[in-house]
Symmetry: C2
Subunit: 219 residues, 2 copies
């Protein structure tokens, strides 16, 4: 009966060495997924962790489950950045900072970039996702209120744009100056100064989910 969550307890307490191993596996997974994206194999993870594949598979019944766990972790980190942005004094600068931060995290964790670029359909924890979305919306809205970002952009629009950033990030990799360059272009496109009204209607998150779901299915 395989245990599930990262947290220490659930079901039956989980033996000490098992806990250690589970942790190692997660770390290894993060390492190799960051390096190779979701193309990395379970064996890669096992080798990195110094355990057998069986161990990996018992802790995480499926490669997807493992990936999900790692990605949830990434989202939790994103949340930290979002909180920082919300706590900042300057809403305008905070939004820019957050976007750069996001790109940096995508660069660090290639799997995150790929997920945001939506090559794969992950099951992220619903509450977590909602929180990320809510806070993203807040950071955006504060920047808009401050006049730093054009008004005809919705939170879901930014998510879509982040997918584009993710792709560029995946190509550019760790080269920060180059990455920042394109983030800056996108941010400039979001300034109110660029007053050409945008075509179409602001996207809602519901639309976004539908689009990504469709994309996932058609593979």
């Amino acid at each position: 009966m395989p245990p599930r969550r990262t947290t220490v307890t659930e079901e039956r307490p989980l033996r000490a060495d098992a806990q250690r191993n589970r942790h190692r596996v997660l770390e290894a997974a993060e390492t190799v997924f960051s390096r190779n994206g979701n193309g990395a194999t379970i064996e890669d993870v096992a080798r990195e962790a110094g355990v057998g594949v069986g161990t990996v598979c018992r802790h995480f019944p499926t490669k997807q489950a493992l990936l999900d766990e790692v990605l949830n972790e990434s989202y939790r980190e994103l949340l930290v950045a979002l909180d920082a942005a919300l706590g900042a004094e300057e809403p305008a600068a905070a939004f820019d900072w957050y976007v750069h931060q996001l790109a940096a995290q995508q660069a660090k964790r290639r799997a995150l970039a790929e997920q945001m670029a939506s090559e794969l359909v992950m099951t992220i924890d619903e509450a977590l996702k909602r929180e990320v979305r809510t806070k993203t919306a807040q950071v955006l809205e504060r920047a808009q209120a401050a006049g730093a970002i054009r008004d005809d952009i919705s939170p879901a629009d930014t998510s879509m744009l982040f997918a584009g950033i993710a792709q560029i990030t995946a190509v550019v990799g760790g080269d920060q100056p180059v990455r920042d360059r394109y983030v800056a272009v996108m941010l400039d496109g979001l300034r109110p100064a660029a007053a050409t009204p945008l075509p179409g209607k602001p996207l809602r998150f519901g639309d976004l989910d539908r689009l990504k779901a469709r994309q996932g299915r058609s593979r």
Copy 2:
């Protein structure tokens, strides 16, 4: 000894029915790769074409070879758009038009989008690639000369940005209004009005190639 080019002659003339089949296979490949990206299997292609897998594999010794052929075709279509843009009266509008056009083609041919998003390393015909790059540069430079696009952007920069567009396009799919929305944001980011100087240095095509190669290898 499998034949190679799309053109009618080479090596030994190729029997009439074989030629017909080759053509069907190419069309089928375009259809299924457009629908499913490069995740489509050879069997999918064969079924769509109404031939056996053996036939597909004889005409194109490798799945990659088939994909390359299809993608080269896409690039040729791109060239048509580029020529149109170069022939246009209004260099400023022409650039915008071309970028929208590019996104539309990416939407039509998912495989193209994925290639530009550089998930896969294709071997595009060198001459063709050079021509696309040269003409892209010309379209860009004319728009810059007309004051429609900021000067601190290089042709390779636009290619990189196109990769981001490709990603968004892959998610959005055929929904033109939505797609255009994000293309418009990016274009606004490229206006001179947004005069915040960009960080970093303009990318050169050499850098771009290196980055993409690195990305391909690390999978």
